[in-house]
């Protein structure tokens, strides 16, 4: 019974890990850049949603599209002005540019918003559904549902819309894409803005149960990277599989190991998976 409960909890939490990590894998998939600042957009999304709740009375889940929009805009500018300039630089320069962006956003938030911990109170925050002897946390369920919505929307966008297909074309072969008239630079901006927007969306969705403060992104950085690499860098399906896997591993490990070691177990599994399948669970061999 506790096994089943642990699996359910793991899946619910994993769905959320997936939605906040999809953006990271999208950015890598299209641009080849590992964006260390991705988690900071989580913070931005959470702050936007918090202010929407505090001043407009909006439930964070409803405000999530607003978080997406703000992060999209910021990402658009950041990509155009900063990231675009290092697209041809060594990958280490790209990584550390994003580290610089991380530092700027985190401390910029501290300067702008102060260090207080802010959380929201919603009507469903402490509610849970009872399914027989099992408890299903309502905030997690809602977050999971929103993640599904988001995931499906992204999938449709990438498959069916012109922009989505153009982005995928650019990812596969930028030169060829340019030849058929796709503005690769525009695609890069779109991918980056979309990617960080998605993470911000995820941030708003988890606000009901996570407190926001300037450093909150840092709590999720390693987790996000584990999800994305485990699933396979660049693969959206990989991010989903990775997210669910991470959630379930964390949850199940609590049954057999001390909770303090939950991350240890996760990392060991992570390293072992990579040792056996260097491209990640879903990733294609490059």
């Amino acid at each position: 019974m506790s096994l089943l409960q642990a699996i359910i909890d793991g899946l619910l939490v994993g769905g959320v890990y997936a939605v906040i990590s999809i953006g990271l894998t999208l950015v890598y998939g299209v641009m080849g850049i590992v964006n260390f600042a991705q988690a900071e957009f989580l913070t931005i999304g959470m702050f936007v949603a918090w202010f929407a709740w505090a001043f407009l009375g909006l439930d964070p889940v409803i405000a999530a599209p607003l978080s997406f929009a703000v992060a999209f805009a910021i990402g658009w500018v950041v990509q155009g002005q900063l990231v675009a300039r290092v697209l041809n630089a060594p990958s280490v320069a790209q990584i550390f540019l994003t580290v610089g962006i991380l530092i700027v956003i985190e401390n910029g938030s501290l300067l702008l918003f102060g260090s207080q911990f802010r959380s929201v109170t919603t009507s469903y925050q402490t509610a849970s559904l009872s399914l027989g002897p099992l408890f299903i946390s309502v905030p997690y369920l809602i977050a999971f549902a929103m993640s599904l919505v988001c995931g499906v929307a992204l999938w449709w966008f990438m498959r069916a819309s012109w922009f989505g297909r153009a982005m995928r074309a650019t990812a596969q072969n930028p030169a060829a894409a340019r030849l058929i008239g796709i503005d690769a630079e525009l695609m890069y901006r779109l991918a980056f803005a979309l990617g960080v927007g998605l993470t911000a969306f995820g941030g708003a969705v988890i606000l009901p149960y996570v407190t926001v403060y300037p450093g909150v992104g840092g709590q999720f950085v390693v987790l996000m990277f584990t999800v994305v690499v485990l699933g396979g860098l660049g693969s959206v399906a990989g991010a989903v599989v990775g997210g669910l896997a991470v959630g379930v591993i964390q949850s199940l490990s609590a049954l057999f190991f001390p909770i303090q070691l939950q991350n240890l177990v996760l990392f060991v599994v992570f390293i072992l998976v990579l040792a056996v399948r260097p491209q990640g669970l879903v990733g294609a061999s490059r």
């Binding site: 506790s2 409960q5 642990a6 909890d9 939490v13 401390n107 501290l110 102060g114 260090s115 207080q116 911990f117 802010r118 959380s119 109170t121 925050q125 402490t126 509610a127 849970s128 408890f135 946390s137 309502v138 905030p139 997690y140 149960y209 996570v210 407190t211 403060y213 300037p214 450093g215 909150v216 840092g218 709590q219 999720f220 987790l223 964390q250 949850s251 609590a254 049954l255 001390p258 909770i259 303090q260 939950q262 991350n263």
Partner: protein, 408 residues
Amino acid sequence: MPDKNSSGRIQLNRRAVLSGTAAYLAAPYVISSARAATPAVNVGVIMPLSGPNAQFGINSRNGVELVADEINTAGGIAELGGAKINLVVADATSTPTTAGTTAQRLIAQQDITAVLGAFASSLTLAISEVTERRDIPLLTMSFADQITGRGYRNIFQVVAKASVIGKAQFDYTAAIAQAAGAKIEKIAIMYEDTAYGTAQANGLRAGAKAANVEVVMDDAYPLGITDTTPLINKLRASGAQAVFPVSYLNDSLLIIRTMRQQKVTIPAIGGAAGYVIPDFEKGLGEFAENVLSIDTSNYDLAPELTERFRKRFGYFMVHEALEHAVCLEILVQAIKKAKSAKAEEVAAALRGAKFTGGWINGMTGGAVQFDQSGLNVLSVPLMVQWRAKDIVTVWPRDVAKSAPVWRS
């Protein structure tokens, strides 16, 4: 040697860079020598102003500023000819190495009489390595057992040790439960795995052992945990009658909310930190009501003093602000006693001494007495309880402002 015929652009760049760097390097010395002209007592205030502990660092700084401003407005330190207190505030950041370097910088750049800091025990320990070797007194409210356990002569801790606080967290609970007619036989301990949580958990365990109470769940969790469902699942399955979580804010909110979701209604007695700041009540609203927590001091012991903080800063005087205010008060009294602002002489005046009056009324017993290891032996932990938006001291009986409400 730069070629005279090199393009002017290169010359300018290099010279500009060099002179800019020189200016940067010289600046601290220029600024400090200007300050040395006025007779002021320099007190270093090293707190984490950025990073995850920023909230607590800023609260602490506010407490010190309040007292410093009061003293300066009243004319400064009479015994030193009206010398004003000059707070030299610096960010300890969240890395102990930087905290140590910051302490070193403060000491090098001006004549520091003493240092106050740094909330987090690891930062305080790093700073103390520097201050001890330079014979500069360090006053702190960090309470890891090691702080006073190394035989250092220049460290002064105004609150009880972590193990004592943890033990009190248990003992007081048992007493309160007993007074309400309930008997506790099984408890759960959960704590975030930094120095703070781990040390306090040791105290809790010792208390439970001494009282022959069974600890049916004893789990550390990683700081920054994002999902406490496994913890609460385990709690529910353990059959504990009370849970003792030692957490910062994010995890405290997660724990209380998840307990509600999972319909775990046993009493939770927090371990200070996240449980005793205004953001706790803001986050939980009605669910914060009647939550108990151990604390090292509380503002309702001296409302006539602490209300000044609320008036100025807009929130109740959290314990780290109060304790740092007390640190400054003690320091000033020691300066007056020694009639000097020299670090060694002030340290001598602090060692093994007793202090009363002023802000010290906010501490238990209305006095602070340092023993040879630098520990304040008069500080007794308090059990506090949330009532609406305030926390009220409810135990021990002789300092309680209200009777505890025990919900089992």
